[in-house]
Structure formats: structure tokens, C-alpha cells
């Protein structure tokens, strides 16, 4: 029996696939098992193949593999789409009474369970997926009490009757398998006393925002960033904040800008097409020196591309987007937990340096649920730094000889004082036009140079004052160096355990400013940059920074890397390089 079990439910969009998967994932998590989920979905509400996959183990999980042990198939397409991942001991649970004639290949173990009629017996056909979950519990050797607990969480608010019916439906599925199949499936999912929480990257960004003091969020729904807004809706009100669903992305970022100027910690989240629209205002935010956090949850581009598929194609846009030259910070969380921490960090950076900060996440993290110990979110470590906010007591030192407040006062480190509206004697204007220290328009050539330098100096100050270290794994003396950014870290870490070669692995969460990788790249025989795009946007950056050629492993078919394929591709890349050098 392998250490991990891979389970999936698949059917048509609208079949409740997502909630079915989530219930099982929660049951496993509540039973003290690690869970790592992935989703396969199409950009439509009804119809089209969709699947929710769960990998579970007692040990920590950070990646997916291409193996399925138990598949709940509500359609034939679910079986067809996953054929490559099924093996000879895979169990396929399906409903033979339904209109489709399931063709389960001979190599697999077909488990025909009358899902619909058993659900009807328990109170309604709608619970057919829960019957399947009960059947899966029996196959996996997983105590059904944990499923009960997840069903309680899911339906508890809607009444005990609904909970009871669902728990009954689950039992009918389990009992049916027990009574009708005399087969040792070979699984026995061990439960533990470990205490885990289960959340995805969008939720982690939303939670980071709340904990980090965000009080104003404006956004426009877009896959896969919408969940950030949905998370904050309702919750942020408890802390005196609000969420506004704007009429478009242009409005959303301008509302957030307005709120930030009012003194609120403000943010918006969107995906690539939304960033395109927001770029107009991005320059305004930077030049008015307004603190703002913008989360870009990337998906496949360009244009509307593949809205429900993975890609890391926006790095160039977040690094260079916008006309003119714009100081900015770009953070790229490398794990779901880091989505939480980096969002808090983003708010501090935004306010300390009064500049827009991108948090660049992606679809793979946004829709993946993963278990963590609650301690991963250590609230005692959270510090809020609002930067140079002036009040009545100290505003005098930032007034000019005519008692006018200077919002772009050049203090040497490039960072000016901030007066929230309402601060007595602080009235001032800011503008997207080039301006002087008073915020007033200027075309004076010397003042222009001075203000550009002042804004750029903030980056230098931040480079010196903040910790931009990357995350390091593996053998630091290895001659093979693997570099990555964003969500690939987990898959690479798992691949490292299976690699026959020794590698040094650096995962970079800071895209700008970023750590100096020169020494690492120079000391390696070969460097390979792993990323989910076609051209190697981060590889380009590394080459430019280090003046050294790097190898590239790219994937851009819309699916995240998994550990198995990375073992092969990393091995091949280093082998080819070492051969070439002989």
C-alpha cells in the first residue's frame, strides 16, 4: 500500500462535484490526515467535464501525482479523461443504473453502486454524491464518522434533518459496498490526532488581508481571484471594513485608491485581464505615492486565454506594466500558507514605502486546498507597520515656510510623511502629473529629476532595510541548481525526494526587489529555472541579473507541474547539460 491515496470525483459542471470533493477533503483533514487537492474545471456553469482530486497522506503533502486510486465517476467522460492515471488496482465507483453504459476498462476494479436509487431511499436523489462518498469510505478503509463530522459542518446550519439524511445516504453507500463486494481493496486510511485546517490560496490571501488590517476591498469578479472577494465579504464588516463589488476593474482599483488615500488599508484582487485594465491607475498610485495591495491571481493568457487553467504568464506585466517608470514591489507567495504571510507583508511594504505592491499568486494555488497546522498562521508574529503617518503633534516639521503640508517631502530615504484626510493643517493635493513637494504640478526639469529619484530611492531604501531572502532547500553545495518562483515550490520539493541527483533548490518569493542570485548561479555547474509559462519570464530575469545563461523547464498546457514529471525533466535537463560540457 502506498503512503498516499489519490481519490477523485468527476462529472458534469453543476453536478456538485466541488462540494462533494470539499466534504471528503474536510473529512480527511478532520481525521488528522494531510490533504492536497486539485481541480479540473471548465469555464462554464453547467455541462463540461469537471473533477475534484484529493491526495491524502499522514505525511505532509505539497504536490499532486499522476496516479488515481479511487475514482467516483458520474459520467463516462470522467473515466476517459483519467484513464492515464488509473492503474490495475484502481477502483472506479459508478452508477450502473444510470442512462450511460459505463465502460470501465478491464484493468480496473469496477464498483457498480446504485447511487441515485440509494440516495432516493435516504431522502433525495440530490445526495447521490454523498452515497458515493460513503462507498469510497468503505473502499479506502476510512471510518465513516469523520465523514459525518464533515457533513455536519457542511449542512449543520441548514438543519439537523438535512444532516441526518446525508449521513444516512453515506451509510447506504458504505453498506452497499460492504454487502455486495467481497474484495479486499487494500486501503486502510490511518487517522491521527493531528489538528489541521484546510484552506486554499485565495482564502489565505483574504485571511492575510483581514489579519493585516485591510479594511477596504473593491473588486470585480474574475476567475480565479473571485474567492478573495467572497472570503472578505461579510467577514471584513466585523472589523469595521467593507467590500465593494465595483462595475469594472477600472472602478475597483480607483475605489481602492480613494480608500487608501482616506487612510484605510485597501486592496483589490484580480487576474491578468483585470490587471490590464488596472494598469492605467497603477501609475497614478505609484506617482501619488499611495499604499495599495493588488493581488494578481494568474491564469492562462493572453487575452481571455484559458480562464480556468494554470499559468505563470504575468510576471513581466507585474514587473514592467504601465507607461513610464514605476517603482513597485512584487511579491510571489510560494505556498498557500505564504499567501497569508506575504499578503500581510505586502500591506506593511505598501504603507512603509507608499507604493503599490503586487501579490502574485496563480490558479494552482487559488483553487488548491491544503492542510496546515494552525500554528502555520502564528498571529503573535503579525506586526503592523503603518509607516510615516503624521498627526497634529508632529505635522509642523513637514510644513513649508508658508505652513503648507508637503506630501512629497524628500526626507532623504525617499519616503514622505502621510497625512490622512481630516488631519488638521494637513490639507494637500496629489496628482498623477509630475509634481513638487507640495503635490502641485510641475514641469521644472530639476524638480522632475528630483521626484523621480526620490521615488526610486524608496526601492533602494527597501532593498537595504528589508529581508528579501529566498527560500532554500536541498544541498547548498550541489553543482545542480534549481530555481523557481511562485507555486512550483511544493512539486519541486517532492521531486527532490525522488531525484537520483543532488540539487540545490532556491525558491524565490520576491520578484522585485529580489534577492541577488549571482553567487548561487555562478557557483553552480548548471542552473535550471522551472516555471509555468512558455518563454521563461523569470529565467530571463535571472539571466539579466546574473549575466549567466540558465536552462529552462517550462510548462504552459494549462496544468500545474506534478512531482513525477519534474523528476524526469530535471534529470534530463542536468544530464543533457553535463553531457554537453564533457
Amino acid at each position: 500500500m502506498p503512503e498516499d491515496l489519490n481519490w477523485a470525483v468527476g462529472g458534469e459542471a453543476g453536478d456538485g462535484i466541488d462540494s462533494t470533493g470539499k466534504i471528503f477533503a474536510q473529512a480527511l483533514s478532520r481525521a488528522g490526515r494531510h490533504v492536497f487537492t486539485s481541480k479540473d474545471f471548465a469555464s462554464r456553469i453547467r455541462g463540461g467535464y469537471t473533477a475534484y482530486k484529493i491526495r491524502t497522506s499522514v505525511d505532509e503533502l505539497n504536490s499532486v501525482v499522476d496516479r488515481l486510486d479511487i475514482l467516483v465517476a458520474l459520467t463516462q467522460r470522467t473515466i476517459d479523461e483519467n484513464l492515464d492515471e488509473l492503474h490495475e488496482d484502481s477502483v472506479v465507483i459508478y452508477d450502473g443504473e444510470r442512462s450511460w453504459d459505463a465502460e470501465v476498462p478491464d484493468e480496473q476494479i469496477p464498483l457498480d453502486v446504485p447511487l441515485k436509487s440509494l440516495a432516493e431511499d435516504a431522502g433525495g436523489a440530490i445526495m447521490q454524491n454523498v452515497v458515493a462518498l460513503g462507498a469510497a469510505c468503505e473502499v479506502a478503509g476510512f471510518p465513516i464518522e469523520h465523514l459525518d463530522s464533515a457533513l455536519e459542518k457542511r449542512f449543520g446550519e441548514k438543519g439537523q434533518k438535512l444532516v441526518d439524511n446525508n449521513q444516512e445516504a453515506a451509510r447506504k453507500g458504505r453498506d452497499y459496498v460492504q454487502e455486495n463486494y467481497d474484495h479486499d481493496f487494500g486501503y486502510s486510511l490511518e487517522t491521527t490526532d493531528n489538528d489541521y485546517v484546510l484552506l486554499n490560496g485565495d482564502e489565505a490571501i483574504g485571511m492575510g488581508a483581514l489579519v493585516g488590517g485591510c479594511r477596504f476591498y473593491a473588486g470585480y469578479p474574475i476567475t480565479p481571484a473571485t474567492n478573495v472577494m467572497e472570503y472578505l465579504t461579510g467577514r471584513i464588516d466585523e472589523y469595521g471594513g467593507t467590500v465593494v463589488q465595483a462595475e469594472d476593474e477600472l472602478s475597483a482599483i480607483n475605489m481602492a485608491l480613494g480608500a487608501a488615500r482616506s487612510g484605510a488599508r485597501a486592496m483589490t484582487a484580480t487576474s491578468g485581464p483585470g490587471i490590464d485594465l488596472m494598469t492605467e491607475t497603477f501609475g497614478l498610485i505609484a506617482t501619488t505615492e499611495t499604499p495599495l495591495v493588488i493581488a494578481d491571481v494568474m491564469r492562462s493568457g493572453p487575452s481571455t486565454g484559458m480562464p480556468t487553467k494554470q499559468e505563470q504568464g504575468d510576471l513581466n506585466m507585474t514587473l514592467y506594466g504601465g507607461h513610464g517608470e514605476i517603482p513597485r514591489f512584487v511579491l510571489a507567495p510560494t505556498t498557500i500558507a505564504e499567501c497569508f504571510h506575504k499578503t500581510i507583508e505586502a500591506f506593511n511594504l505598501a504603507e512603509k514605502y507608499q507604493t503599490p505592491v503586487y501579490v502574485v499568486s496563480d490558479l494552482a494555488m487559488a483553487v488548491t486546498e491544503q492542510t496546515f497546522s494552525p500554528e502555520e498562521f502564528d498571529m503573535d508574529e503579525v506586526e503592523i507597520d503603518r509607516g510615516k503617518v503624521v498627526d497634529e503633534d508632529n505635522i509642523d516639521q513637514y510644513l513649508d515656510e508658508q505652513d503648507r503640508f508637503q506630501p512629497h517631502y524628500d526626507a532623504g530615504d525617499g519616503i514622505s510623511p502621510r497625512a490622512f484626510p481630516g488631519t488638521v493643517e494637513g490639507a494637500h493635493m496629489t496628482t498623477g502629473l509630475e509634481h513638487d513637494e507640495l503635490g502641485r504640478r510641475t514641469e521644472d526639469t530639476d524638480e522632475r529629476v528630483r521626484q523621480v529619484d526620490k521615488r526610486n530611492r524608496k526601492v533602494e531604501t527597501a532593498q537595504n532595510e528589508e529581508d528579501w531572502s529566498p527560500r532554500e532547500f536541498g544541498n547548498e553545495d550541489a553543482e545542480n541548481l534549481v530555481l523557481t518562483w511562485g507555486s512550483n515550490e511544493g512539486a519541486i520539493r517532492e521531486a527532490m525526494q525522488k531525484l537520483d541527483i543532488d540539487v540545490r533548490f532556491i525558491s524565490v518569493p520576491y520578484m522585485f526587489p529580489r534577492p541577488d542570485l549571482t553567487e548561487a548561479v555562478e557557483s553552480a555547474e548548471t542552473t535550471v529555472v522551472v516555471e509555468c509559462n512558455a518563454t521563461g519570464q523569470f529565467a530571463d530575469v535571472v539571466e539579466r541579473d546574473t549575466l549567466t545563461r540558465v536552462e529552462r523547464i517550462n510548462k504552459y498546457n494549462g496544468i500545474r507541474f506534478n512531482a513525477d514529471e519534474l523528476v524526469d525533466r530535471i534529470t534530463e535537463t542536468f544530464a543533457a547539460e553535463s553531457e554537453a560540457k564533457v
Partner: protein, 287 residues
């Protein structure tokens, strides 16, 4: 500012670069007087503006202000007000800024009904780009980009606002200083989104919609026995495209600003030094 502000307190020491005779001078003076008359001070007033001649207003006035990008002043004002409902928020724009590039935001700001005052300096031309037709230009208006007339129907801002569920719809004329100021005062005092479309003639590029034209054409509602709270009467006058009116055309006294409906109670600028005390509950939700 603790003491009562005088309207000159809202004046900056920057000299306007508007053309001599520009209607925007009168528009701005009325805004400053109305702000002072309604008890506001520069330190708790926020002016948002977009691009164009109108957009310069934040430079010439003294208050908290943001001069943003073209057509997006209303969303900025929305964010400012929601994040600090104690501020008096005034948004200034032109007919191009408000009804062309910003038309989408206009409709949504009206229906959202955030408590702010939107003053649109309508001169029916693009002045700062030197004389192209605007969305409020007449169909036969000849300009550098419409040598044979615009061949487009003009936008009717008041009708748009009414259709979008506006709660305060008014029109003024910048050279009628007293009425203009009064109308803006009423707009400031209204609880909800207030539109004041202000005819603000461009003496350099528009020789059709002149001071004389507006003086001769404007019908003052004070002389028309108009009841702005009468929806049907308001609708009739707003949809009467043969006449142009000065005054408050429509006012919904029961209007409640969006910020109040959201339950926002005060400024959002105070936050704890660390995570909120109940932060672990946020984590526990994911159990």
C-alpha cells in the same frame, strides 16, 4: 481647522491657468462658497477630479484632493467617502470626463448613491485638447473633429441620472453665482449622490453654447412652481429636451447614502498594531 472656515480658506495660492472668461472660475467659486456656507473646512474636505480643464480644480482649491486619471474621479470619490464617511467629498469633472470616458462609472455612482456631490462643468466641448466635440455637443456642432456636425445625438446627463435612480439631480449656470452656490449647498446637504450639471461656458472653443445662449435659454425652476420631490413633475422636466432648466429638478428626501446602508460607522484609518485578538478564530473556521 477649529474655527468656521471662510470661503477664501478653500482657495490655494496657485493662480488658475484657465482662459480669461472661462466658466470654470464661477463654478469653482460657487463650490468654495457652498463648502464654507455648509460648515466645512479644508481639512475635512476631499476633492476628486479627473482630466481636462475641470480636472485642475484640485490645484486651485485648498483641501485634501486627488487629481486622477481620465474619467475615474467618481470611483476615487466613492473609495474616499466609504473609507471615511466623516469627510465631505466633492467630485469635479467635465462633460468629457464625466459623460464620455467616465459614463459607465457615472451610471453606477448614481445608482450606488454614495453621499457625495458631483459637479460637472459642462461646456459642451473639449477645451484642453483644443476644441473637439464632446458627448454633450449638439448634433450639428462643427468642430475640428466634426467639420460637418457631430452626427451623434448628445448625451442628456439629467435623464441618464434619473434613469439610473438618482436621488438628487440639479443643474446650474456658473455665471449665476448666487443660484449656482445655493444649488451646490443643497447638493452638499443632500444625503446621497448629488449631480449638479453646471453650464460652464468655454469662451475659447465654443461659440455656440455661450454665456448669452445660456442666459437667454435657461428657465429657472424657482419661477416655475417646481416641486423637486414630485417624481412625475421632475421626470417631465428632465425629459423635456427642448428646454434647459436651472435649479434642483429632483430630490428624494428619503434617500439614504450607500455608506449608511453598508453600515459603515466611521473612518477605517485606525487598525491594531498586530493581528486582531480573535484572529485565531479566522483560522479555526477552516477546521
Amino acid at each position: 481647522m477649529s474655527s468656521q472656515a471662510h470661503f477664501t480658506d478653500f482657495k490655494s495660492d496657485k493662480q488658475p491657468t484657465w482662459c480669461p472668461g472661462c466658466g470654470d472660475f464661477g463654478t469653482m467659486n460657487g463650490m468654495m462658497k457652498a463648502l464654507a456656507n455648509t460648515g466645512n473646512s479644508p481639512d475635512d474636505t476631499f476633492i476628486c477630479a479627473g482630466i481636462g480643464c475641470s480636472g485642475k480644480i484640485g490645484t486651485y482649491m485648498h483641501s485634501y484632493a486627488l487629481h486622477g486619471v481620465h474619467g475615474r474621479a467618481l470611483p476615487v470619490g466613492t473609495g474616499v467617502k466609504l473609507a471615511n464617511p466623516d469627510l465631505e467629498v466633492m467630485v469635479a469633472g467635465g462633460d468629457g470626463d464625466g459623460y464620455s470616458i467616465g459614463a459607465g462609472h457615472f451610471i453606477h455612482a448614481v445608482r450606488r448613491n454614495v453621499d457625495m456631490t458631483y459637479v460637472v462643468m459642462d461646456n459642451r466641448i473639449y477645451g484642453l485638447t483644443k476644441g473637439q466635440f464632446s458627448p454633450t455637443s449638439r448634433e450639428d456642432f462643427e468642430t475640428s473633429t466634426s467639420p460637418e456636425g457631430t452626427k451623434q445625438s448628445p448625451v442628456h446627463p439629467l435623464a441618464l441620472a434619473m434613469a439610473a435612480g438618482g436621488s438628487f439631480i440639479a443643474q446650474s449656470f456658473s455665471s449665476d453665482a448666487q443660484r449656482h452656490t445655493e444649488i451646490i449647498e443643497q447638493a452638499i446637504e443632500h444625503d446621497g449622490f448629488s449631480l449638479v450639471n453646471t453650464y460652464s461656458p468655454c469662451v475659447t472653443f465654443n461659440d455656440v453654447d455661450t454665456y448669452d445662449f445660456f442666459r437667454d435659454s435657461l428657465v429657472d425652476l424657482d419661477e416655475e412652481d417646481h416641486d423637486p420631490t414630485d417624481y412625475d413633475q421632475a421626470r417631465q422636466r428632465i425629459m423635456d429636451f427642448d428646454n434647459i432648466y436651472q435649479g434642483v429638478l429632483y430630490q428624494d428626501d428619503d434617500s439614504v447614502g450607500y455608506e449608511k446602508r453598508l453600515g459603515i460607522e466611521g473612518p477605517m484609518n485606525e487598525i491594531p498594531d498586530g493581528a486582531p485578538e480573535d484572529a485565531m478564530d479566522l483560522v479555526r473556521e477552516f477546521y
